[in-house]
Amino acid sequence: MAEFLQYLVTGVTIGSIYALAALGFAIVYNASHVINFAQGEFIMIGGMATATLTAAGVPLPLAILAGIAGAMLVGVLIAKFAVERARNASVVTLIIITIGASIFLRGLAEVVWGKEFHRLDSFSGNAPLMLGGAVVTTQSLWVLGVTAALILATGLFFNRTMAGKAMLATSHNRLAAQLVGVNVRHVVLAAFALSAALGAMGGAVVAPITYSYTEMGIMLGLKGFAAAALGGLGNGVGAVAGGLIVGIAESLSAGYISSAYKDAVAFVIIVAVLVFMPGGLFGRAGTERV
């Protein structure tokens, strides 16, 4: 039982990061119908900036903010100079463009921050809490709290603010949104900025758990994509659920089946689900119009 709880805690913690990444995928997908393979690099930027800036003596909150700002700037630049210009390109071409962006960003990070691992201390001490025999580190609590707050804030943004509603409208019907005066290009830029901010914040809170290094975003990003597809592309709630499902399944199978196959779990789940539900768990199975 203690073991099960321990796996659960680990799973929910890492699942939260997947959820943030998946939410980022969903937001960008809604606004532009692009799967942004550079999403993982936003996480990396957040983690690296926070780790290196705090090491250089910058206070933690400031370092996190700098990381988020950096990621948002990068996100907007990708949207403006790559994605917008290739609007009408095929799915594969857009995938290659965002993968090109992620290679570029990793290369840039290597130049700016170096290739070694960077350590970031837990935000509030190392004394772990005990929860029914399971150890819960304070950093896990940070991850959970920050993720919950971000998801809540994102939800409020889309449902309560004018800007959020405009973005939502664009995702439902681009043309109609345009007709009622929504600037669709700004929506795409905002979506990239928002998803970058979510990713970077996730990177900052997870860095004390995983270390930061330039390649940290690759697997986190891919699993975030798997989580987003699991929930149904463009479905925010589905993305969050998908992230948690992937995280927990991964941790449980690492504990009870095989730790070596941990990384395969997310992909086994997504392939299996897509075979039976081609639109993901919460996606609508669309009918082609002819």
């Binding site: 190392n126 150890v135 270390y211 070596a260």
Partner: protein, 385 residues
């Protein structure tokens, strides 16, 4: 493609010393040394100092007139910790760069990937990696400078038994070194009467090993835990180990004997024990130790040149370079077969890793005496008495 970073095609010291012009045309030819190191990737804190040391000492040797009047031309490629890249760079060194010898292979995997190629090409090859499989069975052209993982395991088990532990849990990396270490740990355990009560593995690039540590925590009667890995992975293990509050003492092998390990693991590293060459505790060695002078001098040079603390890995590279240049001098040139024979005849070389006495049956030449148990105390290495 994206990973093929032969970043460091560094051609150091190719500037031919003007003084060498007076020598014979033949002897003015540079000695071409190639090197494949894991300057980036999970083993970067091994490969990076190795590269710096090779560059530093090649430069010094060239400034002092080279080896037998011939300058050294060094070519370093970074395999990023990937065996396939190590193989293709080895090919490049042999085919395109036409080197006289290869030093390196930071990791066991890189070394083993290069072995068939150098054996076929017939080029002297001195590895900087730890696993026993590199030199056992003996391969004609392959030598190594660090202690083997078997020696490390023997040392660790010896220390455990001294503290009264007989039940050990293993946590091994899935890398070449990690696997070899695990094999040795299992084999040696039977010989010395240790019981392996848990046997888990982790990936070199894993971001989280808490599931494995949780399993070890739950295993029956664990008295001590031995981690078989190198580079950054063990630091990750160490942090998760402390995080989950496991109380059994933690041991590592000699693949983490660098201050970088302590920096990455932070407070979690306190109390970790591992076997290491005398180099990292040079100042604490008794004056009678033959290594003390070499180790102290090397440490001084390294720390002055790079303003960072010395690691045993830097020492492995230094030893390899010294053994090779010494062999060239004795062989009277770079003829590959002659140099190979000369390396095999190395006797009484005092290096950072210990006193080296090679033979036709021993292509490492180190004894257990130069290997010391060290413990991390207050963020530094302390010799275990």
């Amino acid at each position: 493609m994206f990973r093929k970073r032969l970043l460091c095609a560094v051609m150091t010291a190719s500037a031919v010393a003007l003084g060498a012009m007076s020598a014979l045309a033949q002897s003015g030819q540079p000695i071409k040394i190639g090197s494949i190191l894991s300057v980036t990737g999970p083993a970067s804190f091994l490969g990076e100092p190795e590269k710096k040391v090779l560059e530093l000492y090649v430069d010094r040797i060239n400034k002092a007139g080279g080896v037998a009047g011939r300058p050294i031309q060094l070519t370093v490629y970074d395999d990023g910790g990937a065996a396939d890249k190590a193989a293709s760079f080895t090919k490049r060194l042999l085919e395109s760069d036409g080197v006289d010898a290869i030093l390196g292979g930071t990791t066991t995997a890189a070394t083993m990937a290069a072995v068939p190629l150098v054996e076929r090409a017939g080029v002297p090859f001195i590895s900087l990696a730890g696993a026993v499989v590199i030199t056992e069975p003996v391969k004609t052209w392959v030598f190594k400078t660090p202690h083997t993982d078997r020696m490390a395991v023997e040392k660790v088990y010896g220390d455990m038994k001294k503290r009264g532990f007989t039940r050990v849990a293993l946590l091994s990396e899935d890398s070449g070194f990690g696997k070899s270490g695990r094999d040795q740990a299992l084999t040696v355990a039977k010989l010395v009467g240790m019981t392996v009560v848990a046997d888990e593995t982790y990936g070199a690039k894993d971001a989280d090993v808490s599931a494995q540590v949780t399993k070890i925590r739950g295993a029956e009667g664990v008295q001590a835990v031995l981690v078989s890995g190198l580079g950054q992975g063990p630091a990750m293990v160490t942090r998760d180990y402390r995080k989950l509050g496991v109380s059994a003492p933690l041991y590592h092998l000699h693949g983490v004997a660098s201050k970088e390990f302590i920096r990455l693991a932070g407070d979690a590293a306190e109390g970790v024990r591992l076997p290491a060459a005398g180099l990292v505790v040079a100042a604490q060695l008794p004056d009678s130790d033959p290594q003390k002078k070499v180790a102290t001098e090397f440490t001084k040079t390294y720390e002055e040149a790079f303003k960072s603390e010395v690691s045993t890995f830097a020492g492995h590279a230094y030893d390899a370079l010294m053994i090779y240049t010494d062999a060239v001098k004795r062989a009277g040139g770079t003829d590959k077969a002659k140099v190979r024979d000369a390396i095999e005849q190395t006797k009484g070389y005092v290096g950072t890793g210990g006193v080296v006495n090679m033979s036709a049956t021993d292509h490492m030449g180190l004894g257990l005496d130069a290997f010391h148990m060290v413990e991390v105390k207050k963020g530094d290495w302390a010799l275990v008495k």
